[in-house]
Symmetry: D2
Amino acid sequence: MSSSATMSTGTDYSDSPLLWKYPLHNLNMQDGSGSINVGVLGATGTVGQRFITLLADHPWFVLHALGASPRSAGKTYSAAVNWKQANHIPAVARDLIVKECIPEHFKDCAVVFSGLDADVAGEIEEAFRAADLAVFSNAKNYRRDPLVPLIVPYVNPSHLSILPQQQLSHSPPLTKGFIVTNANCSTTGCVIPLSALEKAFGPIESLLVTTMQAISGAGYPGVPALDIMDNVIPFISGEEEKMEWEMLKILGGISKADDGSRAFDMHATHPLRVSASCNRVPVIDGHTECVSIRFAQRPPPSPQQVREALVGFTCEAQTLGCPSAPRHVVSVHEEPDRPQPRLDRYYQNGAGVSVGRIRQCQVLDIKFVVLSNNVSIGAATSSIVNAELAILKGVIQC
Amino acid sequence: MSSSATMSTGTDYSDSPLLWKYPLHNLNMQDGSGSINVGVLGATGTVGQRFITLLADHPWFVLHALGASPRSAGKTYSAAVNWKQANHIPAVARDLIVKECIPEHFKDCAVVFSGLDADVAGEIEEAFRAADLAVFSNAKNYRRDPLVPLIVPYVNPSHLSILPQQQLSHSPPLTKGFIVTNANCSTTGCVIPLSALEKAFGPIESLLVTTMQAISGAGYPGVPALDIMDNVIPFISGEEEKMEWEMLKILGGISKADDGSRAFDMHATHPLRVSASCNRVPVIDGHTECVSIRFAQRPPPSPQQVREALVGFTCEAQTLGCPSAPRHVVSVHEEPDRPQPRLDRYYQNGAGVSVGRIRQCQVLDIKFVVLSNNVSIGAATSSIVNAELAILKGVIQC
Amino acid sequence: MSSSATMSTGTDYSDSPLLWKYPLHNLNMQDGSGSINVGVLGATGTVGQRFITLLADHPWFVLHALGASPRSAGKTYSAAVNWKQANHIPAVARDLIVKECIPEHFKDCAVVFSGLDADVAGEIEEAFRAADLAVFSNAKNYRRDPLVPLIVPYVNPSHLSILPQQQLSHSPPLTKGFIVTNANCSTTGCVIPLSALEKAFGPIESLLVTTMQAISGAGYPGVPALDIMDNVIPFISGEEEKMEWEMLKILGGISKADDGSRAFDMHATHPLRVSASCNRVPVIDGHTECVSIRFAQRPPPSPQQVREALVGFTCEAQTLGCPSAPRHVVSVHEEPDRPQPRLDRYYQNGAGVSVGRIRQCQVLDIKFVVLSNNVSIGAATSSIVNAELAILKGVIQC
Amino acid sequence: MSSSATMSTGTDYSDSPLLWKYPLHNLNMQDGSGSINVGVLGATGTVGQRFITLLADHPWFVLHALGASPRSAGKTYSAAVNWKQANHIPAVARDLIVKECIPEHFKDCAVVFSGLDADVAGEIEEAFRAADLAVFSNAKNYRRDPLVPLIVPYVNPSHLSILPQQQLSHSPPLTKGFIVTNANCSTTGCVIPLSALEKAFGPIESLLVTTMQAISGAGYPGVPALDIMDNVIPFISGEEEKMEWEMLKILGGISKADDGSRAFDMHATHPLRVSASCNRVPVIDGHTECVSIRFAQRPPPSPQQVREALVGFTCEAQTLGCPSAPRHVVSVHEEPDRPQPRLDRYYQNGAGVSVGRIRQCQVLDIKFVVLSNNVSIGAATSSIVNAELAILKGVIQC
């Protein structure tokens, strides 16, 4: 594949399926049997439901164990869950017996995905890691840990290189267990095109982003209808701080000290100032973000150059052949009024992001709109591609 | 296949695909080449877009000609259309050149689907019929014509038997051309379970139905947001009259006079009184209807018997093997709060209907809720299955 | 006042204020000082907020004590409440100190309004009654009590006559304390026009009603946005049973036994069959109901006669001069597409109901649409007018 | 009155009425009779309906003539209009006979308000000015005219001083006729707090604003429900250009040449860079804007200083006593999640703006959220206060 993004007009892009629908014979799966056992923690929650939907058809992963609260444990999944997706419960999950979130029940899982709520994720994920299990978490608890990589799969898979250090720092040292986190949903959508632009034009110096975020980002029951119908809530607790901090960890590199130890440099070589304004809007799925940026490079690239860099962007998740990676990580729209959440959030099963309205900014250099599916690439899909990367890069031995 | 519907619990139903995803080798297609040319009139409109989405993957039909207004003619479809679907434009339609709605451009089409607006459908469809073309129309213009069958494909395909008479009545008589219409979207959802119940328990005597209809039923631009956001509009012009009349034609039989001529009996043998109250609600797709009925049979069937009759319902579209017919024409929900448009409208690609809350009515006999996808089975899907039926029954020779 | 309702065309009705904006000199208030102390239980909840908004400007009642949970007690109202109304907190309530719901704190209140949740209302309201306080409750707990009147103020204020018996049955007998309840919001909207019609044409025999209810009816946080946006939920727990039962108690009379004891007759003389189908729709305020009825009287009244009866309807709350009663208890619309919740719910401050689309029903006799503001006449306003009636009828001595 | 804004907490602000509810005896109205005849052009449109609602209760202005298209002319207002407001048609307008928009019909009007659509406003407003009538227009046609003031009434009433020059430039010179425009709705909300800040801290150098605009800003029928339900449209045609240009004209001063001629300086002395990103969201009324600014002054003011400047802001419309000016031109919220359109848009009848979330911006200096009612201060209210200012400043002789 020579191109990972496409320049689209209203009709010019292809409704292309994910990579996994294409021949997978070049994957270095030992036996092609497609049978890597995986578990899902928090399986009955909103993110857990999305994990299960995505994993049900996965070419490698097999749903092996589902974990939830003690209240759900012992029931079939279909009896335990209050299913809220527009698809029906996948057949493969329906009759699985839900377990408590205890490592013993997941010991046959090569990969454990966590969609746990933050109030319980800290302790449980730590216990799973201590049991030498590989945890890919959507929770926020370990994102700021200096030895835990915070990975957006199309941006910084190189941060997996911190894992040996994370394992060694554990007492006793781990051989297989670790925690990898993915980013906050609003961070993820924004950082993907920014990464493409830094790759093409060097460091970004300033970023001003205003988000219009979907209600599904708040989980279930989440936002009361009385609060959001016919309304905008110009505040999401902790969200702006997360965006402003996570952006630095993800876009920054990893520095290596003389003793071989590694550390996240937080974009320190070229300081990046980030200002976020986060809003909740009456949209079910899909975060829309208005982004303005200033490059360090003078003169800055033109809108046309920015467009070409986004269209031409490819990443390791694609070249290595992660089955859940989309053909077009960034889909660029030429129509004046796109992307829009209702029309574009399900494109490529929500695994890519859509960018439009690339134009000059009168205050910084360039502005554009980015849309990401907060429950797919903004949550479960990121964890899944991270796990695929870990397998393809040999971090996990299956 | 022994059963066409399934008794579901929250998790008990299968997210089963349409019939066409199953082996089709038992279909009496002469060569299996899957190449019956079809055309779509009104291709750029809301219903037209739905026709194109459904036909793009069809196992038999090949999109051959697209017709729209002179303003669109000559452009590629992607340039002419203001595409409003959540999927992107199918590749097969994107570069087709849109034609004017003139029979000559469609002479190679074995089937012509019409998604035309009522203000132009009358004249154009008549011209196509006169040119000996087989027209399957979603427009209302000919629904009340005494020689035009009004067919809901899971209910009254037997009404196709009027077609020879329709052809003979034309001057000059036609050999291949005819018009078949499908029903109004709100009629369709309601009449399918009613047909199953009449089959099981004999004539229904009274029907009281209150609808909560989606905005997509009004086309595009359709309902202004200022009219419907945070609102209910308890009136849809002409809708109640349509439901009250169409129900009789569809559920009624065909009488045959001594001279062999046929006529629709409008349920006259057992008069059926229908009272409809139609409302527009802020839902994008999916009509929800609260239905109460009284049977002629005394004592009437119990809710449990009604449930079983719906679960066990099968129809000719399934037994003949129409590829667009769903596995479960009627999907019966056991959960107390289903069906719901957002959760159930895309089940089986919208080709079936969902019924729930079957219970006793204190005034009539039985009441229940039915949900149908107004742009699928309520519109384009009905026309497509009607055409499939016409082929399988030999009315169209391919 | 000779007429309590007006026949309106699109423009013919008057945006008339409530009665209290008109001269009140004919009210038999002893001193005109407008100072009857009242308390509100559940003051921080959704219904409580509505009580406070309505009472802030009341010509007679003065907010004297606000009760809420122990968590709120001791704070100013403005600090305790999570205010969700489109108006701002009335100045008169802002700095009142919230109390626990203990009778002692309310002993100077001639009237206590209860907006308590059902899970605590039972015990607290009983304690207040036992302390000889007059309680007007919006909670459902005592609605089915055979000695507690269930009063819709424009319909059955005569049911106040049960109160002496309620007081005597208490041990020890009460002299001032009692409980009066108002009806469920969806019952209230429907029963008002029905009462007008029974007054004009005699008993109704059958009633079929389908509701489309606003989310505010479920309180706060109430309905999750993820459940109701772009959706209809065809089920509200317990609602249909409430409507079917309450209707009988309200529309029925009071029978008097030989020993002078009274009992509600539940419409027993002329049995009334009621069938309700209740739906939640994405509307903030205002319940819309499609109603079909059959009269005992044969032949039944024509739509035109029904219209005139509704337009001409007056009730005791008006003739006695209840200040919160609207000029038009029933506002009749002639436009084909009204009433609509967003356009009509605030007419007369939500104290009346709006009726439209009066027409023949093909199954029963007559059908129409009724809209009521569920948080005004459907809740707090009913309690307030009930209290006004109790004062004007001498049940409460101020 | 010593303060025009108030520092509010959740409960600390007063739900204060407009100034006109306070004694008006200090107004220099010759006779206090409150009878200045006014006309409304485009009276049946969305903005026209808002004009009529606001003027119906006005202490000075009397609705004298209503103009609309020839199709409406000759009908009563109630017959001509498709009324879409939540209040009912004011009694004073109901039976007025709608006229064509010809100056002759308005010759007795001291003030003519125009809510005309842009496609007809240019010609009609010019004809009215030529007939020596004073036109206050909400249309965009003359906003960029170098002799037409573009006035946000709390910001730049001093621009009225250009009017003599506008009158002289006419051929023949006018003595009473002129055109005054008000700003685009999204400009208005933003420019009011900016004006307060420039007054306190000197020139603003950079402004980055992202809007979330209500559907009512697009008029009626305006935005199709199918386009905006469950969606964000990140584009409003021409809106960003309007904001970026109008801001300069309004915030800039008027320069005076040696020959006494005046010209708008477009903020040229201290160039102001404005970058706007405009979005449509599913909100009925009320534009929410996220604003980031950089001051010329170094160091810039702190968030606390900005807050105090906004709270202490007063303007000429208040000190002169314009009856439609609010008590608090800027209402400052301390709650973390306000302002919100549904809760704050009707405060003070929509005549002021609400500001919240004042905090540091990591990229520029300060950021905050501003909410304005686009159909009140963003449209009709601005024109009305402009006319009040013109009267109080003697520009119009009544």
